[in-house]
Symmetry: C2
Subunit: 573 residues, 2 copies
């Protein structure tokens, strides 16, 4: 995130400090949108005849902010802008399988994107800043995931300076082309100008994705005006530069080159139909997902309901069903519910997840998913993977509650394994079912690169195959417990008390300590660029976001854009 | 860190809240000590005849605190206690090569160690807490390093409950034996009682070293009274239990078993003679190391001086020289200076490192080091490795300044590569020398498991061998720059201005943002248990240590031990 460097543009004059507006009730941002409602992005298909290339142009409307109190000048962004970007990426994946290269560029003169809006950051609560950074990181990762899934390549065509979050967006692309006009640069001005870090994975992507030498990364992160031209190429910050005179030509050439590296996908796209949800204060009702709030214990009871019939039996039928294919429809609702929980229900600390239905319904859908018979089914599996990661990356505790009538099977057993604990009712009189399917073998890898079973059984890897031997099959509670799938498996006599105490206990703990503990315990084993971004970079940013040097009355983030200079407590910690 | 759980012991009665004492001038803790001055540990050699086993018994003197304001009851510890532990581990390594197993145990009844003292934490500044946790983590890692170096195994003989930091200390050992007396447990009561995290690597060691299942780690971290007996073994929290009636016998058996797994080391130990340093306010003078402070730019100029002659030509001569062997003597001084800089010079943000002398002197010593001809030389190399990591883990910026008269060669080129930047004077008239030796091939791996050259050239691995081809040889500035060893290589005309501006610029930045940036940029590439501890777990703890839920007037850490209950802002972030 962040603005054009002071050195390049008179950014200060663009930004007017505003009074604290945090106490005013804020509109509840929704995460559902569609291209016809975009205010900040233009999605176009310039070579419509061939269909291989799409352009996604950033043209932020300064006044169309997520809340009052700031303006989005110079293609700076807030959550509303990023919600549209996230939507655009999903729609490109599902609705436009014919597109093989997406060109990300900017509509302003000499500016690609000035990063996250400073006025917005300076007037946001700590919790909002953290949630905002988390969401923008997930959006960048969804770009990389779309590329890794093999459907598209992304070209960042930097028509002007890309600062902070603007450059971080470019870093998420497969290739970065920067205009060589003697002024346009890539830059991370956060540290020198604002006393914070690039918060959307930038430092990690610079050192671990682009493998920029660490001393150069250090220099780059402290040079407000950024690096341009040949040096940007030499240091590995961009892949190529092109003069203004050849800009269009070069963008086209790189885009065609990237498109050519992708195997075309057959068939028409799948329209992402709108989700519907009835929302009352303490009750959200989607088609398959229901969330009921128990305010006293700061708990949400989330129930996922499987359909009665499994539906499409093969990939073609799934593609024909499109957004109505139930695993996709259900997971899209779950994803939306998670985002709402994060942003609009900060007081909720614990989610009790139940899955109701018949395991055989999941088994049949899982067989289709695991076979990845066409691009659509494969992309739905990636979507499920991202949603499970979204859950694991939420600052809430999750307990899977497997009691009478539940069916944590296959894809939904993965959901249970993504939870912090599994409570399993062991009672022969109750219909408690779990089930294992082919999806556990690697369809939904975690952020650490391992499967959930591998992560769970790090100490006893032989247990992984012991579970997989049962696939595809429903399991009774006794067997599931023996296989090590439950955290606690009380009988009917102890069940209610044990669960009630577990909920009350969780609700009593420091919410901060829980967030820190879960962030450390959920991803055991290897680290990846992705786990580093959330577990390491975000943690340091969260720390800095709390420090007076950033957010105190004279902190750098607070006084930026005012005539005041920051005053630091220079003691190093 | 942390106390016996409330459920086990009436800890509250042991702890008296004290008034804020932070404004009072504090004594400057020194890091040099010796067994005869230990107040908190007893080092004994019970099988003196055979010499294979040592016992290190924790017997904390409650009144002998690092500063006033709290008491160290129940074998709880503060920095003074950990300084002695760090010293004991180093002396066991160097002075007692005959010892093959170290038994860590406690002198109190039913208590092994109650962890870091809460009164100390509650009355410490944020910076001190962070520094304290960092040092205790390094001490635990030095235990693991001593084991990995092949010289000793460590047995945690938990004669009673090990809480928080007490259990974290056990986790650093090769084997954990817990007394089975129906009350003694291992526990992490930090989250439930204090609203913070185990701060000395505990969560990471539980999931990544002991590979405890993540849902069980979640439960363990929330159960104040801990886990005991058979369940502690089943969950992998300890390796074995033993009843009181067989305690001595079982401790002996495990210790002998561990000792038997170690190849005996020949010869006598090397006495760690005291370091000497003249300290004035703005000037520290060790024998080989000098530190001069420039308060205005919050900068320390640190000069390392090589001896005129290389000294011992082989491992036997090095062993005979012992603590006087100059690479060891010099690095011990550097290590001490780093600790003093961290703890006693918080305002200093930038260290300018110079190495003066003749590269050939280093080359000869490096040849001895790289050959690892006996246990002593090998352990000195490990010590150098730990000191370089200590530098990389310090919350200061480091610039290597290679100008006239300097010789960043071999081991000292590693020092330059450990710095954030290398400024290299490129001027034929000046005697600027660098040099490469065999040590770059893997003698001093970084915390990420790679060599410094591998980390530096992640994007261009062929550059590593291009550098190594020159070893062992001194390099002129021109060649060093071509090989990619310098960040900036100005000529004599630009040198002074460029360096001055770089220093002034660094001094002007937010110290917090610099710490966060350096923590992310310094360790590119793979993560290890060690990098996770400092980069991920510590970051979350630092964040929590700033939050009102922990350290506010009604925060859990503040009110623990008083009649008050914590009051939380329950919004999850």
């Amino acid at each position: 995130m962040m603005p054009i460097a002071r050195a390049n543009e008179n950014y200060t004059s663009q930004y007017t400090a505003v009074a604290e507006t945090l106490t005013a009730p804020q509109p509840r941002t929704a995460f559902q949108t569609q291209p016809s409602r975009y205010r900040h992005w233009k999605l176009a298909f310039p070579d419509e005849g061939k269909g291989a290339i799409a352009t996604l142009t950033m043209a932020v409307q300064a006044q169309a902010t997520e809340r009052p109190g700031y303006e989005l000048k110079l293609n700076s962004y807030d959550l509303a802008v990023d919600v549209e970007l996230a939507d655009a990426v999903q729609r490109l994946v599902f609705e436009h399988p014919e597109v093989r290269c997406v060109v990300l560029t900017g509509a302003l003169d000499r500016v690609f994107c000035a990063g996250a809006n400073i006025g917005m950051l300076a007037t946001s609560t700590h919790a909002f800043k953290v949630n905002f950074c988390k969401f923008t990181n997930e959006t960048r990762l969804s770009i990389e995931d779309a590329s890794a899934a093999g459907g598209k390549r992304f070209l960042a065509a930097l028509n002007g300076t890309a600062s902070g979050g603007g450059y971080e967006l470019a870093l998420a692309c497969d290739r970065i082309l920067l205009v060589d006009d003697r002024s346009s640069a890539v830059s991370f001005p956060e540290l020198p100008l604002l006393g914070v870090l690039p918060g959307t994975g930038g430092l990690t992507r610079v050192t671990d994705k682009r493998k920029v030498r660490r001393d150069r990364a250090d220099v780059f992160a402290t040079v407000a005006e950024g690096i341009k031209g040949k040096r940007a190429v030499d240091w590995g910050l961009v892949d190529a530069i092109a003069p203004l005179s050849k800009w269009k030509e070069e963008v086209g050439r790189h885009a065609r080159e990237l498109a050519a590296s992708i195997t075309p996908r057959a068939g028409k796209g799948v329209e992402l139909t709108p989700l519907t949800c009835e929302r009352e204060d303490d009750h959200w009702r989607y088609s398959h997902v229901e969330v009921v709030f128990e305010r006293e214990t700061r708990t949400a009871r989330m129930t996922l309901r499987l359909p009665d019939a499994s539906g499409p039996k093969d990939a073609s039928a799934a593609l024909a069903a499109g957004a109505a294919w139930w695993p996709f429809a259900l997971l899209r609702e779950l994803d939306d519910a998670l985002l709402w929980l994060r942003l609009h229900e900060p007081e909720v600390g614990l989610v009790l997840a139940r899955v109701e239905g018949d395991p055989s319904v999941v088994m049949e859908a899982d067989a289709v998913l695991a076979a990845r018979g066409n691009w659509f089914v494969a992309e739905v599996a990636h979507f499920v993977k991202r949603t499970l990661k979204r859950l694991e990356n939420s600052a809430k505790s999750f307990y899977a509650v497997a009691d009478g009538g539940t069916a944590f099977a296959g894809t939904f057993l993965e959901l249970a394994l993504a939870c912090d604990r599994v409570y399993l009712l062991k009672d022969d009189d109750e219909n408690v079912q779990l089930g294992v399917s082919q999806v556990h073998e690697g369809l939904y890898p975690m952020a650490n690169g391992l499967t959930r079973l591998q992560t769970r059984f790090l100490a006893e890897p032989e247990r992984v195959s012991r579970v997989l031997e049962h696939a595809p099959k429903a399991l009774d509670a006794e067997t599931a417990d023996e296989l090590g799938l439950a955290t606690f498996a009380p009988d009917a006599i102890d069940w209610e008390d044990e669960l009630r105490l577990a909920v009350e206990e969780r609700a009593s703990f420091s919410p901060d300590a829980l967030t820190g503990m879960e962030q450390n315990v959920r991803t055991a084993g290897p680290e990846t660029m992705e786990t580093k971004i959330f577990g390491r970079l975000s943690a340091w940013q969260n720390w800095i976001f709390q420090r007076p040097n950033a957010v105190g009355e004279k902190g750098a983030l607070k006084v930026y854009g005012t005539p005041l200079r920051p005053e630091f407590d220079f003691r190093r910690t």
